[in-house]
């Protein structure tokens, strides 16, 4: 107080103040309530209305949920139990339906003796993803892998996988984990092989068909490597070589190899797919392919080359302007007119392509936002250091742009995953509508209305919420620029 006086304006501090700890935060439930819920007349009113609505909703749903029956063989039996327990007027949820038809929700019409194959494909998905998704944290990656291996094994056993398959399954998964742990560089290559293994497990048939499809990529890559001096021409030649292989040669080679060494799984046709196996197959493939495609489209849209840019703009605007269902109809009906008669182009594959194209258009716009958000100085610094376009994109621009776009990318993933239920319109058995209708059409479960929807909705919620949590984890992990 006596440091300064009105008369003596000049002031020299003769002792510096020591730093002090910050004041303790003023916490407390009552205080929080008063500040956030009851701070003024309008606020009090809104709070009361809010609680009123909550109470109304809960009081309507709760009796129905609380009067739920888990053990019953049919809808009629279930109703009888409810009437006997809670009185004749009570209504309740027949969750016994879910217990009863669980396998059908999950696997559709997949042959029940082969249930272990989708389970193994799903378990291996996590092994393929662990080195990519959790590259930042060894321990998180290990936890995910351990959980995947144990759960896959236990579930496959419960679902009655044959002993031989169980042994091979355990060996394959443990070998893969060992590879990830001991040779992380090779693990990424193994992740690249995963799609082919998964296709083989899901659809069965000869191992040589997916192997020959893979060989096409290898051939393309080798051609590109060998001719990489030619620049864009090498790329074109590589694509050409791969196409020639796939269209003309791979079929013969696959047949010859299958005759020499038949490695076959019992084939499962696409119309036996259904339920969550179908949704997850389409969703995961779409997610995996739409991200790279979206990146390419976003870069093309920002390209200096007018033709490339125009193509990207037209593609994105066209795909975004058309409802997904239209694209699915094109996939299921129109394509048959354009393809030569007799070609057998799998319906699930066609749907996956359409869903991928659809999601990649949205993805491109999300990523373009991330690219635009980067300061111009980043491009200039990369240029000034002599990095060429692709190196600058890969090392400097995309890592930052993708990080900025994580929330948008994951929203697109989530939206696309939920949209896989729309395949019901082209005759595939999605879990929400087609599967529920099938079950409702059975004699036992006629009249079940809400139960399948609630169940399928909750599963979708769990899967999507998982993705959303992962994106938050990733954002936290990558937050290192302290801006």
């Amino acid at each position: 107080m006596s440091d300064t006086h009105a008369q003596t304006v000049s002031f020299v501090r003769d002792s510096m103040l020591p730093p002090e700890p910050p004041p303790a935060a003023q916490a407390g439930a009552i205080r929080w309530l008063r500040e956030n819920l009851f701070s003024g007349p309008l606020n009090i009113l809104l709070t009361l209305v809010g609680f009123g609505v909550l109470w109304l909703v809960a009081s309507t749903i709760w009796p129905w949920l609380s009067h739920s029956v888990w053990n019953a063989g049919s809808m009629a039996e279930c109703r009888k139990i409810i009437a006997a327990t809670w009185g004749p007027d009570a209504s309740g949820a027949c969750l016994a339906l879910i217990k009863n038809r669980w396998n059908q929700f999950v696997f559709g019409f997949y042959p029940s003796a082969l249930y272990w194959r989708p389970v193994l494909a799903f378990g291996m998905l996590f092994l393929a993803l662990a080195p990519v998704l959790f590259s930042e944290s060894r321990s998180a990656s290990r936890r995910v892998m351990a959980l995947a291996v144990v759960l896959t094994f236990v579930i496959a056993q419960i679902l009655g996988a044959p002993g031989m398959a169980l042994v091979l399954m355990a060996l394959a998964m443990l070998a893969w984990v060992a590879l990830i742990e001991l040779r992380p560089g090779w693990a990424l290559l193994a992740s690249c092989l995963y799609p082919f293994v998964a296709v083989w497990l899901l659809w069965g048939g000869s191992l040589w068909s997916p192997a020959m499809a893979l060989a096409g990529f290898v051939i393309g890559y080798l051609v590109w490597r060998a001719l990489s001096r030619l620049g864009m021409l090498a790329f074109a030649l590589a694509v050409l070589a791969a196409a020639v292989w796939w269209l003309l040669l791979s079929g013969w080679v696959a047949q010859a190899l299958a005759a020499a060494l038949p490695l076959r799984l019992q084939p499962v046709s696409s119309d036996q797919f259904g339920g969550f196996v179908l949704s997850i197959t389409i969703g995961v493939s779409g997610i995996a392919m739409s991200l790279p495609l979206g990146v390419i489209l976003a870069l093309a849209r920002r390209s200096d080359l007018p033709v490339v840019k125009m193509f990207a703009v037209m593609f994105i605007e066209f795909i975004r302007g058309v409802p997904l269902i239209t694209l699915l109809f094109v996939a299921s009906l129109l394509l048959n007119y354009f393809l030569p008669p007799g070609t057998n182009f799998d319906i699930i594959l066609r749907v996956i392509i359409m869903v991928t194209l659809f999601a990649s258009a949205y993805m491109a716009e999300v990523i373009r936002g991330g690219l635009a958000a980067l300061p111009k100085g980043q491009y200039e610094a990369a240029d000034a250091l002599g990095l060429d376009y692709w190196k600058a994109q890969r090392l400097i621009i995309l890592p930052q742009a993708l990080k900025i776009s994580i929330p948008g990318i994951v929203s697109t993933f989530i939206g696309m995953f939920k949209d896989t239920t729309l395949v019901v319109f082209v005759g595939l058995f999605d879990p929400l509508k087609a599967m529920a209708d099938t079950i409702r059409a059975s004699f036992e479960w006629k009249g079940a209305y809400w139960e399948p929807y609630i169940f399928v909705g909750s599963i979708f919620f769990i899967l999507c919420f998982g993705m959303s949590r992962y994106s938050m984890y990733l954002e936290r992990r990558l937050k290192r620029d302290h801006r």
Binding site: G377, E380, D383, A384, L395, R480, D481, R483
Partner: protein, 254 residues
Amino acid sequence: MQTQTQSQLGGPAIEISKLNKWYGTFHVLRDVDLTVSRGERIVIAGPSGSGKSTLIRCINRLEEHQAGRIVVDGTELTNDLKNIDKVRSEVGMVFQHFNLFPHLTILENCTLAPIWVRKIPKRQAEETAMHFLTKVKIPDQAHKYPGQLSGGQQQRVAIARSLCMKPRIMLFDEPTSALDPEMIKEVLDTMIELAEEGMTMLCVTHEMGFAQAVAHRVIFMDQGQIVEQNTPREFFNNPQSERTKLFLSQILGH
């Protein structure tokens, strides 16, 4: 005058003749002629908007020119991408706002271009990086991210990052004007040290003390043209053109 200093220096490092550039209809650079010898240190000064940044950004093709010739170390800058890449790997540039890569550590910032452009093994690139980081006096920050450093430290990292490419020519575009006075000194000290080693330097700056200490030549630009060039002593003590006198009185006046 120019020839005096050049006699002690090497052959030409940069030759610019009749350089013209437009932004739309706006004529930013008008008939700029400039020859820089090997080992020469040039300070470019001038009022805001006079085209100083544009000029030095043309030298590594961050900006494209429409008329005239720029030859850097015997390579002419044309639309040929090979030439551009060659020039860029010979010419280092330091920006006003540092432009470090925020997602990479200091060490990774410094090793990225040597590894991917020069194809130097990672080990060796890291050794070089540590050498230059030691030189700019921040080896202990190597594993931090740019966001954790002060402005002056970031700018010194940016200088080290350029030096890791072993460039023959360094361009500086107002390297100290985003910094507080205390940090300006640490960056200028680094640049003076670099100058003493004989690096060819083109530096846009308003630090006239620095110009007097290290420059062989000061170039004064206005409205996209070189208005006056001279040795620092002559330039500051005996400016010829009216425009230069006005500029000097403004920046030295307070």
